[in-house]
Amino acid sequence: MARPQKVDGLEVGQDLEFQKKEWRAEMLGWILMALLLLGALAGLFGGGPISQATAGGEAEALTIDYHRFTRYQSPTQLLITASPNAVSEGTVRLEIEQDYINSFNVQNVLPEPDSVEVMSDTYIYTFTVNEPNQGMEIIFDLESDKIGTIAGNLGVEGGQNIRISHFVYP
């Protein structure tokens, strides 16, 4: 190792040039910290205004409120609002892509479906509706089981699909 830089009689490894760089880097680091916190407040890492998203509409007879950003193994929710157009013969038959829903741990579905049918690459959840002209709200409590992008199609059986996509932080 090189002999430390001297200051008069003091043998100390002072390095002013490096020190100046360090101070600059420190400032940059503080700016990064502030940006990270602002991003977190806004919901860039889940659970804030820019994470909230809504998909679907009249054409699909469903609207889905979901979180664009979520974190690994932390809870997230799908709020599915079925319009009266989604009801046929007193039931709502909700079709969800298997790859999509299998990327989550499904903690709870409210109301409980009457049945879940396994199709070739989708599941069909059937819910009974008591007031067919009011539609219904269905809540899926999920916990992401995969890191990265999770995307999939949801829709009323035989109707148009809605594609939603989440980004899961590690």
């Binding site: 190792m1 090189a2 200051v7 008069d8 003091l10 100390v12 490894g13 002072q14 390095d15 002013l16 490096f18 020190q19 360090e22 101070w23 880097a25 420190e26 940059l28 680091g29 503080w30 990064l32 910290m33 193994q73 590690p170």
Partner: protein, 149 residues
């Protein structure tokens, strides 16, 4: 594999965040700093272990953290530039009883910090009895008194 990646991510993140918060941030542990450290430990713990509370997992995590630490120290020994990046450099803040204000300000040190160290370490009474004061890499201040004439 998961546990190793987690531990390394945490190790690097902690290294980075403590480095940019400056040498002085936790160098003198006040009661509050101590509480802060405990909370940071608490926040780290879950992410470090995940849902796996087995002995094996904790062995892997501990081994990874220590291996990272040993590895880093070997690299620091070999590359002095890395040593500076990770551990910083000492800085003279008082020279012949004269305060180097600019450096003190940027390192967030004031005169009372230096005087308190001078009393504690050397039993000095006044600033003009100090020959050098150095902000060490660890964040502590060391004081060298003037020789009595």
């Amino acid at each position: 594999m998961d546990a190793i990646l987690r531990s390394l991510a945490i190790y690097i993140f902690l290294l980075f965040i403590f480095r940019i918060s400056g040498k002085r941030s936790l160098s003198q542990i006040t009661t509050f700093d101590f509480v802060l450290l405990l909370i940071i430990g608490e926040a780290t713990q879950q992410a470090l272990l995940g849902n796996d509370f087995s002995l094996t997992n904790s062995f892997i995590v501990i081994t990874t953290l220590l291996a990272a630490d040993v590895g880093l120290s070997v690299l620091k020994q070999r590359f002095s530039s890395l040593d500076k990046v990770v551990d910083s450099v000492p800085l003279v803040i008082v020279e012949d009883g004269k305060l180097l204000k600019d450096r003190m300000e940027r390192s967030r040190i004031d005169v009372s910090d230096i005087l308190s160290k001078a009393r504690e370490l050397q039993g000095l009474e006044r600033l003009d009895q100090i020959k050098y004061a150095v902000l060490e890499r660890s964040g502590g201040i060391t004081v060298i008194p003037k020789e009595q004439g």
